[in-house]
Symmetry: D2
Subunit: 364 residues, 4 copies
Amino acid sequence: MSKIQRIGVLTGGGDCPGLNAVLRGLVKTAAYDHDIQVVGFLDGFAGVLKDRTMRLDGDTVSGILQRGGTILGSSNRDNPFRVPVQVEGERKFEDRSEEAMRIFDRYGLQLLVVVGGDGSLSIALELARKGMPVIGIPKTIDNDLAATDVSFGFDTALTTATEALDKLHTTAQSHHRIMVLEVMGRYAGWIALEAGVAGGGDVILVPEIPFRIESVVGAIKERTFRGRTFTLIVIAEGAKAEGGEVVVSKVVADSTDSIRLGGVGHWLAAELEQRLEREVRVTVLGHLQRGGTPTAFDRILGTRYGVHAAHCAAEGRKEIMVSLQGTEVTEVPLADAVREPRRVAPDSQIVRAARSVGTRFGDE
Amino acid sequence: MSKIQRIGVLTGGGDCPGLNAVLRGLVKTAAYDHDIQVVGFLDGFAGVLKDRTMRLDGDTVSGILQRGGTILGSSNRDNPFRVPVQVEGERKFEDRSEEAMRIFDRYGLQLLVVVGGDGSLSIALELARKGMPVIGIPKTIDNDLAATDVSFGFDTALTTATEALDKLHTTAQSHHRIMVLEVMGRYAGWIALEAGVAGGGDVILVPEIPFRIESVVGAIKERTFRGRTFTLIVIAEGAKAEGGEVVVSKVVADSTDSIRLGGVGHWLAAELEQRLEREVRVTVLGHLQRGGTPTAFDRILGTRYGVHAAHCAAEGRKEIMVSLQGTEVTEVPLADAVREPRRVAPDSQIVRAARSVGTRFGDE
Amino acid sequence: MSKIQRIGVLTGGGDCPGLNAVLRGLVKTAAYDHDIQVVGFLDGFAGVLKDRTMRLDGDTVSGILQRGGTILGSSNRDNPFRVPVQVEGERKFEDRSEEAMRIFDRYGLQLLVVVGGDGSLSIALELARKGMPVIGIPKTIDNDLAATDVSFGFDTALTTATEALDKLHTTAQSHHRIMVLEVMGRYAGWIALEAGVAGGGDVILVPEIPFRIESVVGAIKERTFRGRTFTLIVIAEGAKAEGGEVVVSKVVADSTDSIRLGGVGHWLAAELEQRLEREVRVTVLGHLQRGGTPTAFDRILGTRYGVHAAHCAAEGRKEIMVSLQGTEVTEVPLADAVREPRRVAPDSQIVRAARSVGTRFGDE
Amino acid sequence: MSKIQRIGVLTGGGDCPGLNAVLRGLVKTAAYDHDIQVVGFLDGFAGVLKDRTMRLDGDTVSGILQRGGTILGSSNRDNPFRVPVQVEGERKFEDRSEEAMRIFDRYGLQLLVVVGGDGSLSIALELARKGMPVIGIPKTIDNDLAATDVSFGFDTALTTATEALDKLHTTAQSHHRIMVLEVMGRYAGWIALEAGVAGGGDVILVPEIPFRIESVVGAIKERTFRGRTFTLIVIAEGAKAEGGEVVVSKVVADSTDSIRLGGVGHWLAAELEQRLEREVRVTVLGHLQRGGTPTAFDRILGTRYGVHAAHCAAEGRKEIMVSLQGTEVTEVPLADAVREPRRVAPDSQIVRAARSVGTRFGDE
């Protein structure tokens, strides 16, 4: 193996606090410790396809540690293996991965570091199989990648959701209200679960534990019976009611048009209002959970991921993903990384702990 | 006038950070400076009707300054002049104000301090006209009472909304998104306006300035043309589109039932998605704005209101509302307090300042 | 008067959250509303003397609203009328204001906007008297300029100090401690006073109300007697003990050298430890109070100041300072601005309110 | 073993955010899952000696999850094996552990849960050896207990220190200053190290890596040479300069008296001012790091510790300490818990990562 002298990096998929910490760690270590140049592709794989790049060095990444977002920009969709095109008025998909390979070569890159979630890492693996050396850095706000103990961004999202619960708590208590907080988590309920435990949520609803609306109603009634006049419910956007109850998120805006309006939080609130004849208030955090200054934890983890990836790059490693195991950052095969998602196990220690302090999951 | 020895207090209407600061200021001053006993009615006027009270003294109000909510509880609805009753299966309203007067007398109270907004202060005025001595303390998260320069709670709500915008800002920028933040303000747009100025909102939509959806679309397109790939929109829940466009917030959940789902923020997002063919994300802060630890400003103002009301009470004043005028807390006639709401003037200095830094109001 | 086409701006003196909001408001309004170019001098008056500038336009000031500090940099010392020089081994001062005038002319500037406190505004006034058209924007973390109701930066400093008190509160209470929080305020005690009221400080010590150490000891003993096992003391760095007690802030580091170590907070703690035979803990916030993201209030006020100064500049106004009066931003003569500081009046309404809720000022 | 029906709990040592979460988790689980009664001793071991207790049940611990401090109170000193007494004018120590055993028996307790650090857990172990069944829960803000991966409270302290660095960052940069932040850590530098990494500290000084003042001076000069006009230094209170340099923290207040004034932060600042002829500003966080609302992480960990301890208690376990291993809470022998402190290894991965991004440790 010849000495590594020039690598590329991109950030792909949804936003995640700590991306800039990763970039800073990677670029500083590459430059200072290993004299490696770094080229950043703009807006994820879109930058590779459209040849849009920026040079990254110690100065470029100075002062970005605290900032949310990513200085490289990102994009959720662009996949070199499936580029949408119009062919005779029809929308089709084209494989342009060869073009990506050429651009990668044109810059004289010896490695591509992909910071991304499930989707971006799968593309990275496909590129690897075509011969592009790649290293992955796991990024998921939902903390649902099995190949790492924790991923950066989750702690910030959890903090935002917990602070929201804290605010709802005082006002729910004073005004005897039922409050619903809808948080992220389409397939994995970690944010809802952990924010619920941290914020003292009375009911936590996650995708992994199907709930019955009657059980939620029962939990509220039981609280009322014990003199608790308020109830805080945390619901993951992907939570599902048992037994075929349809979670509706479509609406007829006028007599002819159908548009998206509200989500499972609003649906739950409406259901509870009908059944309990009490007002229910909804807060939908949405992208608030993806934004803002990363927490100390996420900045440290992001920095360590970036530093470690730079060392691995310098050693000529490839087809790996950096990963936190216990308190050390190490590596796993990239192929392992995208295999199975990490989901909330209904009988896990933390779920049982939540039940022990009185939290309900709507499955009782 | 005989010496004031015993007064009552209640907190009415929606939650508002700083209520506990008011109670602490009132009770400590009454007790320490004037040797006045204070009886707190629970859950607003409901406590008066149902005779539910708690004794308040220096110890009771110790350590509550920082807490959101109100230790007395509140209620949005209970009006002694309009108590809902079932008469022969029909819902009617009864005037039970005489009962309220009796309970007030039974406790030997010489004054009732009502901490509340428009609604609660109107009831207070009616009770005053029946002979109950009352003092009002203004409480409105929307900052829409004309008889005071500022009211407590607004600064906290503004801070929560601004922090939300900050979080959306970094992620919108990195991911080139259109983000909609829906904030409180059914009739007055102060939270949307000031949070929009503080958080650099690109478009601010308030009830006082009817907007055209085409104008919002135009503002986004113009930004794109100038190379800004993201747009932050702050919309007050009561903002209205011009020219009869119906803001829909109802939905057919299944073929038979109609339930509330989403609000103007979701509606706007859906409209923009259709017209721009871009994804639009929505955050609905909801009761987050009413909760949580009050800001320093709100604790100071709340404390000063409470202290001043206690002094006024000791002097035998009545039918007044305490009020901030410039930097001093003073009083205005209670009747003035509930006359006209303070709304955003479309040509006010702050709206013009927002336009000067490039913010659009959807009316251009 | 010919049309204003090009102006300069500098930020002088100590740091103050909101400076970037001012610059953004000024530059955007100058550019968009009045087609005025803006030249920024770097590091306060040092930039004028050393001819170091940067061009400011809409893009330069984009995205800086939320950031602490100032993109122009600042400096506490550089005064064109008193530049230190070495003359035959001796340190002397030279008047280089003519040079400043020449540089101002060389850039073709028609006005200089000075964002600064007492010191910088005094220099601005001197330059005005030499014929340079200037407009001042008040900046003081201490809120001690009499010519404006409030100045930006204070609310952020107050918030930082109040959050510190909140943190000390819980731990003081659980551990029965005496805690001293030293905050900024060399001549004016606004931060200590308002943070003390907002955070429930038991004792507040400010420069304007000389304290006796025995009175502080007495207040703590009285609290103990009433069963309060902890005491929170907020002390402004410029607070002074009555009657010639020397506040020592020097130390003998070893037998030969004398260096600065600790301040009035540490001194007070040491005195109290001796007299009460209890441990006392000190926190010195220092420059924490000058840093960080400005609050919503400070961003709005800073923006409005900047916008207003740009309008005034376009109208050819000079020798004025922008100023908040009630809820409107207006102007006052620059000469008035630097006349008298705004200090805490011992019998002001807010001091009396603090006493009413039980706070002691060490003068009882 | 007979069924466990009644246990005691105390919180000992310095304050630590999350103590209330532990108590809530313990008490709710004991009550709801195992029907065990819980007696709380007030102010640590002082409560055992002085027989001061409070009954803890589901209601008592409701709503305390978010609060800093401990509802039981704590105390740093009281050790049943070494109670200070005055014998003929002299201060001696008495072993009153028998009394502690009697009080424990008098309440009919079958187990004592001790939430504490090194000191309190050592006492617990001694009591265990006298026959009192005990379970320990690790509590250390410094994160220096080797027998658990992480302990609650650390994340909150880290967050407070990181937020302080963030604030200093903007102002240091704008004003070209050297800033010193003194944080906790007498023997272990975890807070300084991790806050330094999270906040982008340029120099980190910890007890485990002795520093030379010349090396720190060199790092600052090198930064200046590279055009960085500011430097952020994080120093643990227990950091030590190499080679016999005395860290002075005493002062002559007047000609006769010697009192404590300032610490290592003030000392370092004074040294740097002398050597660099530049002003250096100091912030001493002090007990700020022990106070305030715990972070989500600390609330979750505290809750899980409390829940797990209750389950262990119900099973009749004793002489163990609960402990986080990876992502699971489990137990270790109590004797192991107090053996070796966990300290920063100078060649650990995180220290090396910090060096890779350019941070200096004063040992170069």
